[in-house]
Symmetry: C2
Amino acid sequence: MPNNQFKRGELYSVINGMASIAVARRLQKNFRQAGLDITIEQWSILYHLWKEDCLSQQELCNRTFRDKPSITRLVDNLEKQGLVNRHPSPTDRRINLVCLTPAAQSLQELTLQLANATMEEALTGINKEEVEIVKKVLQQVYDNLK
Amino acid sequence: MPNNQFKRGELYSVINGMASIAVARRLQKNFRQAGLDITIEQWSILYHLWKEDCLSQQELCNRTFRDKPSITRLVDNLEKQGLVNRHPSPTDRRINLVCLTPAAQSLQELTLQLANATMEEALTGINKEEVEIVKKVLQQVYDNLK
DNA sequence: GGCATATAGTTAGTTATGCAACTATTTTCA
DNA sequence: TGAAAATAGTTGCATAACTAACTATATGCC
């Protein structure tokens, strides 16, 4: 392997691999142990709908950084489980508004507690200034590439 | 949504979503534009083998943070493409050593150049101290959860 | 008004991931 | 020594990701 190649790129495997995978796996495990039968990908959709209900699928694409087919199928699966419904937009017939059902609303408190606990554990021993730097850097990485 | 819920957890979507997805997509796009028909997941296996050839599948699991079935199938696909071979370990008949072919070796220089260029672009405007903090924090996140 | 273009969403095909269950081999230890 | 436990790898199943191609609706502009 040539010298001096890909030194900064070691960050790639760090960004892409370890931390995000570890957080995702732990959260999924905590959901399972609590008897919750949802994936973290499905939960990420619910998370955005709890912040603002009845978003279009396109808006869910933007907020979760997924493409349209991925959202289509996540919403399909959430609909099968009775957690969301598609409603036609009154102003634009191309648009589906994805809205929470009462069943989804009842999941909010428990799943957010589990997510908080997971993040507390993940961030143990890391001070707030460092967390802010990480957020800023990763935002910059995203902006540099988008 | 309850107040004060999941505030630190905003980091979750940052870690798990934006930056890593952006880096992965950009690198994949750069591979495609260069006419390379490999996925970034396959490339990540090759990357570790360029650092040290003929690793066991278990060792690839450890170094790439994947489970055993994922490695089995990535190696299957790399083998189909003629980029690696499985060799039985001389000392332990349970073990497959995964070794690079000459075809894989010829990909090394170009793909590392593309990876370097991608990381240069990703890290534009971010100073080295901040990069070090990000690496440290994400390592800590991983260690906290593993 | 009507045609070209853009936007929202779906479908099909390939690859990848995680879990559970399985086979084969090696190690442990009573 | 021999049975139990651990380790390496594979297979089946479900979910999810990206690309490309598709339908339906809306917008822009002559």
